[in-house]
């Protein structure tokens, strides 16, 4: 019950978006998210930031405890739009244990300067344990690529509620950036 209340509270901390969460049991799944399950969150926040240069939270998706098990992945896909000019406009995908926090680990980012729309995907893989993750680092919008960076490692306890937090930062406050849609998929083998 406390977990459910925490999930509900986390959902209330971010505003403006309709959220659809689902657990599709594809194997051994039951009342809880178990091995063989697929959970997803599909939202269309259509949330715009403008007016200052602080990092703002577009939206936050709480991921249920145990959603990816020790060897599963989170696959995060998002689309955004921005006014096109040379000023930096940075969208970030953060992952951590705190709802809507800019302090959650930055596991992927892209600068939208000189572009009007963008689409990005990030894959986070639990590294054989529920409290250890590996992410291809510094690859921008495309997770299917080779990188000179070593894997980024985080240590979020995914047996508890974890959070995918999408943020935006404008270099010039008069610019705008809008998070359109966000899909978070949890694949639990």
């Amino acid at each position: 019950m406390r977990r459910l209340l925490a999930l509900a509270l986390a959902a209330l901390l971010v505003g403006g978006q309709a959220s659809t969460n689902s657990n599709m049991n594809v194997g051994g799944g039951g009342a809880t998210i178990a091995a063989g399950s697929y959970w997803y969150s599909q939202t269309y926040p259509n949330f715009t930031i403008t007016g200052d240069t602080a990092e703002h939270v577009f939206t936050d998706v709480p991921v249920p405890p145990g959603a990816i098990g020790p060897t599963g992945i989170l696959r995060i896909t998002l689309a955004w739009t921005a006014n096109s000019n040379a000023n930096a406009k940075t969208v970030r995908v953060r992952f951590g244990s705190v709802a809507g926090s800019g302090a959650n680990a930055n596991i992927g980012q892209q600068n939208a300067a000189n572009n009007t729309v963008g689409q990005m995907q990030v894959i986070l893989r639990n590294a054989g344990a529920t409290g250890s993750q590996a992410i291809l680092a510094g690859v921008g919008t495309n997770p299917y690529i080779a990188s000179a960076n070593t894997l980024m490692l985080t240590s979020v306890d995914t047996t508890q509620i974890s959070h995918v937090t999408i943020t935006g930062t404008l270099a010039v406050g008069t610019d705008t950036m809008t998070l359109l849609g966000l899909t978070v998929e949890a694949l639990h083998p």
Binding site: V26, T71, G72, I123, R125, A134, P143, A146, P189
Partner: protein, 174 residues
């Protein structure tokens, strides 16, 4: 070798589902963190057994893999083979060459083409969404019986390494 055998057995036992019905979606995966080093010839890192009938006549097997390797000018090859046996065997349906990078993530699409023994692979590897002049690879293995994704690596010198960090297999049956 014993580690590889144990790993192969663990993977084997994790994929015990029977044929998947129409309209199903199944997830498999592991984090083997298996490394090839010291031996130059193509070496099996992970054999993923796919149950017979798991991919229907119009089904899709989508395999996402994360790799790390030595960052050097020498070419390291990451191979994906499909066949009815495990090992460095079966048709090489995708090969990705890497050099002066350190990590990579690849995704492969194996589709049955209207029948269980007709299949094709878009071998983009690091460019899974794009265009390829060479066309599709057509292994045409009979997926009515058990078959394998054999993930291999070839290193240029014994001192270099390729590590298969983790893999995720999604099977989608319309």
């Amino acid at each position: 070798m014993r580690r590889l055998a144990a790993l192969a057995f663990a993977v084997w036992t994790s994929l015990t589902l029977a044929a998947h019905a129409q309209g199903t979606y199944a997830i498999y995966g592991d984090y083997p963190n298996t490394t090839q080093t010291g031996t130059i010839p193509e070496t099996l890192l992970v054999a993923i057994p796919v149950p017979g009938g798991a991919v229907g006549p119009n089904g899709l097997a989508k395999l996402t893999v994360t790799w790390t390797y030595t960052n050097s000018a020498n070419t390291k090859n990451i191979g994906v083979r499909t066949g009815t046996s495990s090992g460095v065997t079966g048709g090489l349906v995708a090969n990705t060459a890497v050099t002066t990078t350190a990590t990579a993530q690849t995704v492969f699409f194996f589709r049955n083409n209207g029948a269980l023994n007709l299949n094709n692979v878009y071998a983009g590897g690091l460019t899974p969404y794009g265009t390829i002049a060479a066309g599709l690879n057509v292994p045409n293995i009979n997926t009515a019986g058990q078959w394998f994704f054999n993930l291999t690596a070839t290193i240029p010198t014994a001192a270099e390494t390729v590590t298969l960090v983790g893999w995720t297999l999604e099977i989608i049956n319309p």
